[in-house]
Subunit: 629 residues, 2 copies
Amino acid sequence: MTTQEQLHQWHELAQQLRIDSIRATTVAGSGHPTSSMSSADLMAVLLTNYLHYDFDNPHHPNNDRFILSKGHAAPLLYAMYKAAGVITDEELMSLRQMGSRLEGHPTPVLPWVDVATGSLGQGLPIGVGLGLAGKYLDQLPYNVWVLLGDSETAEGSVWEAFDHAAHYTLDNLIAIIDVNRLGQRGQTELGWNTQAYANRAKAFGWQAIEIDGHNLTEIDQAFSAAISINDRPTVIIARTKKGKGVASLEDLGGWHGKALKPDAAKQAIAELGGERHITIQVAQPEPGQPTLLHPQPLQLPTYKQGAEVATRRAYGDALKALGAAQPDVVALDAEVSNSTYTEDFAEAYPERYFEMYIAEQQMVAAAVGLQVRQYKPFAATFAAFLTRAYDFVRMAAISRANIKLVGSHAGVSIGQDGPSQMALEDLAAFRAVGNSTVLYPCDANQTAKLVEQMSDRQGIVYLRTTRENTPVIYGIEEEFSIGGSKVIRSSDQDQATIIGAGITLHEAIKAGDRLKNEGITVRIIDAYSVKPIDVQTLHQAANDTEGNLVVVEDHWQEGGLGAAVLDAFAGIGDLPSYDGPPLQLIKLAVHHMPGSGTPEELLHAANIDADAIVEAVKSQVRHLIGTRV
Amino acid sequence: MTTQEQLHQWHELAQQLRIDSIRATTVAGSGHPTSSMSSADLMAVLLTNYLHYDFDNPHHPNNDRFILSKGHAAPLLYAMYKAAGVITDEELMSLRQMGSRLEGHPTPVLPWVDVATGSLGQGLPIGVGLGLAGKYLDQLPYNVWVLLGDSETAEGSVWEAFDHAAHYTLDNLIAIIDVNRLGQRGQTELGWNTQAYANRAKAFGWQAIEIDGHNLTEIDQAFSAAISINDRPTVIIARTKKGKGVASLEDLGGWHGKALKPDAAKQAIAELGGERHITIQVAQPEPGQPTLLHPQPLQLPTYKQGAEVATRRAYGDALKALGAAQPDVVALDAEVSNSTYTEDFAEAYPERYFEMYIAEQQMVAAAVGLQVRQYKPFAATFAAFLTRAYDFVRMAAISRANIKLVGSHAGVSIGQDGPSQMALEDLAAFRAVGNSTVLYPCDANQTAKLVEQMSDRQGIVYLRTTRENTPVIYGIEEEFSIGGSKVIRSSDQDQATIIGAGITLHEAIKAGDRLKNEGITVRIIDAYSVKPIDVQTLHQAANDTEGNLVVVEDHWQEGGLGAAVLDAFAGIGDLPSYDGPPLQLIKLAVHHMPGSGTPEELLHAANIDADAIVEAVKSQVRHLIGTRV
């Protein structure tokens, strides 16, 4: 039984959370007080009685995890931090100001925020990743709490999470849906029909508990039931009122994302019982430490020069090798592990492999969740289908997440399957992600060396692999630094430079041979590190070859390797400037929608094969030296 | 009651569909015979008795629509076309060959394919768009049939579709899930648990019918029940066997996406009763024509020069005006219509507005479905959240769809809400879409003129709008062609050129004023058409200003406006080549993860405000003319 004293304590804290949400947003002049107020009772009980969290040690392995999926309720989260005694009231009042850690939506600039939220529907799938970490890797009893808004359940990604959480019996995952009925522009789709939410959740295999989200006893009982069950995840569907506690706001439209004016705030605070500054002692986690195996020396796979090996095959081999050496490497795949070759890791280390089925958003979100617990997730699918998770990748960058994404079957060179399976925009998409790394190997040995480096690389690291077999051109002793490149052919007489990566590097080599037979010597650069790109080597080549550059890529003409090379010659930030001969750069890339055909036919039709390269180089050399060629 | 004769006819056709799927893939040497075979009985009954479709007139308004969401079963679809008598057996045998209309996955290169499939989980949400068109716009009784694979139900987008179809009571939408239990790499998540599928579908408000997908009578009854119900959509959950009918394939792993060798094919065909060449008469649709209002003269909104108006506000005004003039314009929004200002259209033309709630994938998919029926869908949300639907945009381009997407709240200039709400990759992402158009207006009058042109523009057209108010700089008489630009400032003495668009154009103007005060005259170009970009005007400016270009954009440094400008100077396809003075191009763009702050603070911190532009121009001019400045 809940005592009157306990009820009073919760109520007082809830009112404080409401008041602080109002105060902070009023000072900021913007923000979401009403969406914070609807969840205040839920959070008061959670913070006081259920959350186990060492604020002095956010990385404590056995900390509960809390994700504010409805990130716009950031004022509530920050008010909770104040109540926990870890930020001052003064800092709380810096909400949304330049330089403040208290951004408009939570980000890991704050040490207690594991992941950025604010793109709705992402908190629960990330919570699945944390749930997997807790149950299967850490094997620690911490719980993962996720507070969702009701509107965000319209996102399919939320149902990917419902599906996967049940499949993996994540009894450590507790979702709380704040059903305040009002979205940004009016009533949500399901309004207060909490039964509809419950039916859906149950059909997906969850325990679903409907409560009055302002009844503190019901909240307490629901949390208690959630942590007691051990065969499925729990969702608490809490009927609430937006702006709860202030008559002029409560359950009224037109108040989404609006701060109160100072006078109205004053009145609201009075109505809520006046300012208070309670600090509560949040429960400490039990001691706990995951048992990881010891790292072993890495034995990368090696391939004989001249052998024909697909880089996706080498990815699979290297990942398995990495798995043997590094116990914190984890792999994910979206039901195509026999195409990406994640399957080898899955067979060798089933306890560190998570099948994500065809749910790319959930896959990337799970990777983000896993890396919160310091695991190194490698997630793979066809490169084309990583576009499905682009918003998750974007947000992962804001989360300062360290994840490794691998896209196979890039470009027209996949052949007969046709354009739906061809990634032609992935380089552009991944380059345009904050602090990302984009790698595109051309052979198996290079792939293995790059996979090794991905493991410890910070940020969003993307590796593009090729479906087709390609010749191994590098010896096993070669090293490939991120940010570097390889000059494959070079002489004092080079008249032009061909820059390729992945599949087109092999076309460049063929073109180089043919040009040589015609008396034209070219430099060939393997730009396997698309981002960061090797500016210095490109500048040197342009200097040495009269500015004649031909870039060739199996990608739409926008934003890919060609764009990376152009950027190397633009004045950007601290990049070294180029003072050589005027650039005569020809970009060979995909211009027209491809269809089906053989890889060779499609490379030719797209004008990115050796024929096209030869022609491009000749047009440059002709242009500069008149009739000499 | 089903007669024996009828059962025999269906069976014979089903066997032919299986045989033809085997034959075509064996000739091609690749493809998906077994995934075709599991659905053959379902499709035989559909084609013979339920589909109403005029193959001579694919645009017949009252045609039923059929979407093969499990696009890898393309051989089955093509076999159906042969059975319908619209492709020859010879063409069927051209499957997956270069130049054939019969690509590895279906695309609208074939006149009876409305939309490309092959990225799983997209057919049903597109079907929702067609269902909306049929029920609410065309108001015609045609049905929309969607055949899904079981694996693809793991995609959240499928549940967005379940949700929206029920919300809009799309009784004209019939989903058929081919539960053949086997995904690409083994058992699917739910296996043959058809009840789990049914429970989920029912919880989302659908009629769900579980059948044996090889029992022709059950199939017939299920289709009959599906077209009879009139208060909800129907899903038929058909338990099937992959490779059905051939003992060496049936329900066996390891056969996904594998063609049979000729000998094995011969044996399989014999087992299926041998080749046959039945042609069936598909039922014609009833006559029907939607009643559209007559177009009216367009009266675009106009704005006074000097007024402060957000371009998102102008989008809302222009869309409403377009709605008044063009009865085929339809609007969609993802629960932020009061931010994007779609709400004005929604209020004026509620019958042509569809609230998509927070489900951006479903929103874009619905737009694709609507344009199949020749409507002109404008779909808007925050630009950042369009990343959620990137795979749908990619596939829409393969569908040759004509859709208009509008992203508001672009860039750091949104201010306090923080990075999760800031689109900083949208220009890169949309530029890297086949045959796309990317527009980025800086003022209200320009926005209105561009919105007008979007309406008739083919392909994927993207408009980026700004949250903040910006001054109206153009008179109402100005015209803005797609592919053009505006030279805002120009003189014979220009020493450099500043290129901006949207919010940064205003910073460029401020910078231009300040530089003028310091005796440096600059050209200023408004590059509102980011793709296609105005190559000629850029070349002219580079010629006139010693190659000194400063490009400034509120976007990550990769793939956006700066990249578009660089591309204008690269040799790409048929672009005119540049022969002017060497380019000294400085790209100003966002380099570091922003936080919260005022728009001015954030523009300044990102080094993309007037201060940064002034400094960049000075560095260029200094570089060229020594101590003159």
